[in-house]
């Protein structure tokens, strides 16, 4: 199996405080991958670093064996629902259409195909009947489905989704889950930040267990052991978090210049 995502010694700091320490893993293509860990374990940070939205202090990410910029059109990102203002005066269809925006088509008109693909994506998540609604007039689950539709409209191969199941009603959860299974059938890779251990076991083929460092990355059965879970959820390592505090307070660098990791 080919590798969809590889992180190499990925270390990330927020306001100087390290939140990910040397995270190093490879995940295969065509899987539903769950990123799990307690609050503040760096799940969202990992996703944003893979998407190039946060610059790592050191280490690097390879997607399909390439640099992000060469494969960007194959990657789709679904931010957390709370990250945007849903009072923004646009309709459901306009959000889905954003999935068809391209860097090199910044000014021109969107084509008929673009409109068609956006509508098809809305259809797939069951939101086409609401296409003309303003986005504030939707339930949380429906808003999440609109975000997923925008992502579908991008027609990517790798999807990075931040908490798509958070605060979602049963119908929306079902709709998104069915869709994920279809995407897997079609050979897509989906990486999902998830908070619920209970459902994770049923949802995902592959699990990345985090708690500021990588606890374990592997097939779901191999990761779900009492020992791994205890390591991930048994609280942060005391000495590690003390070191993080020191780095922040004294403004030390995370890596000395001569030891930065570079892609081979």
């Amino acid at each position: 199996m080919n590798t969809a995502i590889e992180t190499h010694n990925l270390t990330v700091a927020y306001n100087r405080r390290p939140v990910l320490w040397d995270v190093d893993f490879k995940v295969p293509e065509g899987q539903l991958i769950g990123v799990l860990g307690p609050n503040g374990s760096g799940k969202t940070t990992l996703l944003k670093s893979i998407m190039g939205l946060i610059k790592p202090s050191s280490g690097y990410v390879r997607l399909f064996g390439e640099d992000l910029d060469t494969v960007r059109s194959r990657i789709s990102y679904v931010p957390q629902r709370e990250s945007v203002d849903w009072e923004f005066p646009i309709s459901v269809r306009e959000v889905a259409l954003m999935g068809r925006y391209r860097k090199n088509k910044l000014l021109g008109r969107l084509s008929k195909t673009d409109h068609q693909l956006a509508d098809e994506a809305l259809e797939k998540v069951g939101m086409l009947p609401f296409a003309d609604r303003q986005i504030a007039q939707l339930s949380g689950g429906q808003q999440q489905r609109v975000f997923v539709a925008r992502s579908l409209a991008q027609q990517a191969d790798l999807y990075l989704m931040d908490e798509p199941f958070a605060g979602v009603d049963a119908a929306s959860e079902e709709a998104i889950l069915t869709l994920l299974k279809e995407m897997k059938q079609a050979g897509k890779t989906v990486l999902i930040v998830h908070h619920d251990l209970h459902t994770a076991r049923q949802f995902f083929d592959w699990i990345i267990l985090l708690n500021t460092r990588l606890v374990k990355s592997g097939s779901t059965e191999s990761v779900f052991t009492a020992d791994n879970l205890k390591q991930a959820y048994g609280g942060q390592l005391t000495i590690l978090s003390q070191v993080s505090e020191l780095i922040k307070d004294r403004e030390f660098p995370m890596r000395e210049r001569s030891h930065k990791d570079q892609p081979k």
């Binding site: 944003k48 998407m51 190039g52 939205l53 910029d69 960007r72 990657i75 789709s76 990102y77 931010p79 990250s83 945007v84 203002d85 923004f88 005066p89 646009i90 309709s91 306009e94 959000v95 954003m98 925006y101 391209r102 860097k103 910044l106 000014l107 303003q134 504030a136 925008r150 991008q154």
Partner: protein, 434 residues
């Protein structure tokens, strides 16, 4: 009035055209400032432009609008950078950074202005107009330069509309698809600085934030579409520019800039009060109609429970019986009974007695049904004790829509009895169907 609106006087024509253009471009650019929640930043930029204008005059000794514009944009940008730096690199919160930058730059501007005024330069007259605008005394050269800039801004916003939209709504997503978000944000900021720098010609630095933000804020009340919002904001900017010029033309003692802002504020107030759905008036009306619905449904329910105890629903009921059953306020009860008659739910019999019509009986059954269904839902699904459900159901019975009713019936399996073993009344016809 007719004098003004024929636009036969070339001077009137120029000044009005200039003012309207400035108003429209500020409104359109300001829509994005508003949507990105940068209203205060816009205000700070406007104040920070004053030292730039003064510096440009000190350096060149000339009031050519192009020089002043360059100075204005320079300090406008400097203020923006200072705000970004202060809020991201120090522990100061954003509002502190904005407040500090606004007052420091404006203070410096006033200082420079005073120095210029006392320098004895013959050419300086009129610079103080930048405080409150000088629309009426704009020269041909001013209007040419600022008009061109305003048109340029409009073209920029319209051609980058889609990119600005996605950057304002979801910047992280915009970056994920590889849009040059940093550059686009830089462009948006530059456009804002330019709009402010030109707009102060009309209203001055102190009132500029109103020209930038008020049209968008007012427009938001009327629409949920960004395209419509842009058009409305532009229209508000246009109208206030037009009528502001007219007022100062008809009454020469009246300043144009402040009048433009007063007109904009009036438009905003009207929008806040009158706009459908979001407006204050619409919300008051909604609350009134809710209160009326609750009153009517409560009266019908009282008829129903009287009928239930006598096993007969179409009997005549005296008002005193109603009040004994449920303590209605007598004035609203009279009003409610009257409205129920008009709706065809009640017939007035002799004097103080009323009788339910067939439609009235059906409607009263509906309300009681919703009440009892909700009571059952609370005990069955939410583990309420049977003696704790009544008060909640009293409120919820008025809220439940036909769709929710159908969902409740499905979920509870068309129950026959409520938690107090009272019969849940279905419509005769509905019973046969289901």
């Amino acid at each position: 009035m007719s004098d003004f609106f024929t636009f036969s006087d070339p001077n009137v024509r120029m000044v009005t055209l200039g003012t309207v253009l400035l108003g429209v471009s500020a409104a359109i650019v300001g829509t994005f400032t508003f949507l990105r929640k940068r209203a205060l930043v816009g205000d700070a930029i406007a104040h920070a432009i004053l030292p730039g204008v003064c510096l440009a005059f000190i350096v060149t000794g000339d009031k050519h609008p192009l020089y002043l514009l360059v100075g204005a944009v320079a300090t406008g940008w400097l203020s923006l950078l200072s705000m970004d730096y202060l809020s991201s690199r120090t522990k100061l919160s954003t509002d502190t950074a904005i407040g500090a930058v606004l007052s420091v730059f404006f203070g410096a501007g006033i200082l420079l202005l005073t120095t210029i005024q006392h320098s004895g330069s013959a050419n300086q007259a009129g610079l103080d107009k930048f405080l409150f605008g000088k629309a009426a005394s704009m020269g041909r050269q001013d209007i040419l330069v600022f008009g061109i800039v305003a048109v340029l801004l409009l073209i920029l916003v319209l051609s980058f509309f889609r990119a600005f939209k996605v950057v304002s709504f979801d910047p992280a997503y915009a970056r994920s698809i590889g849009l040059p978000v940093r550059q686009l944000e830089f462009l948006l900021s530059t456009i804002t600085v330019l709009a402010v720098a030109t707009g102060i010609q009309a209203v001055g630095v102190v009132l500029m934030a109103a020209l930038l933000i008020t049209p968008a804020a007012a427009a938001r009340f009327w629409t949920d579409r960004i395209q419509v919002m842009l058009l409305l904001a532009a229209a508000f900017g246009l109208l206030s520019g037009l009528f502001g010029s007219w007022i100062s033309y008809s009454a020469p003692a009246m300043p144009t800039g402040p009048w433009i802002v007063v007109l904009l504020s009036l438009i905003a107030i009207v929008s806040v009060v009158m706009a459908p759905k979001r407006g204050i008036w619409a919300r008051i009306r909604l609350q009134k109609s809710n209160a009326r619905k609750m009153l009517l449904e409560n009266i019908l329910k009282t008829f129903y429970s009287l009928g239930e105890s006598r096993q007969q629903f179409d009997m005549e009921v005296n008002v005193t019986e109603l009040v004994t059953k449920r303590p209605f306020d007598s004035k609203s009860l009279r009003r409610g009974l009257h409205q129920l008659q008009r709706k065809g739910c009640l017939i007035k019999k002799s004097g103080n007695t009323y009788q339910l019509t067939t439609a009235g009986i059906a409607e009263s059954r509906r309300v009681v049904r919703l009440h009892r269904l909700w009571e059952l839902y609370l005990t069955e699904r939410m583990n309420y004790a049977a003696d704790h459900v009544h008060n909640t159901a009293e409120a919820i019975e008025h809220v439940i829509t036909p769709e929710l009713e159908a969902a409740l019936l499905r979920e509870l399996g068309h129950p026959i009895l409520d938690p107090h073993d009272s019969v849940i009344p279905y419509q005769a016809t509905q019973n046969k169907k289901s």
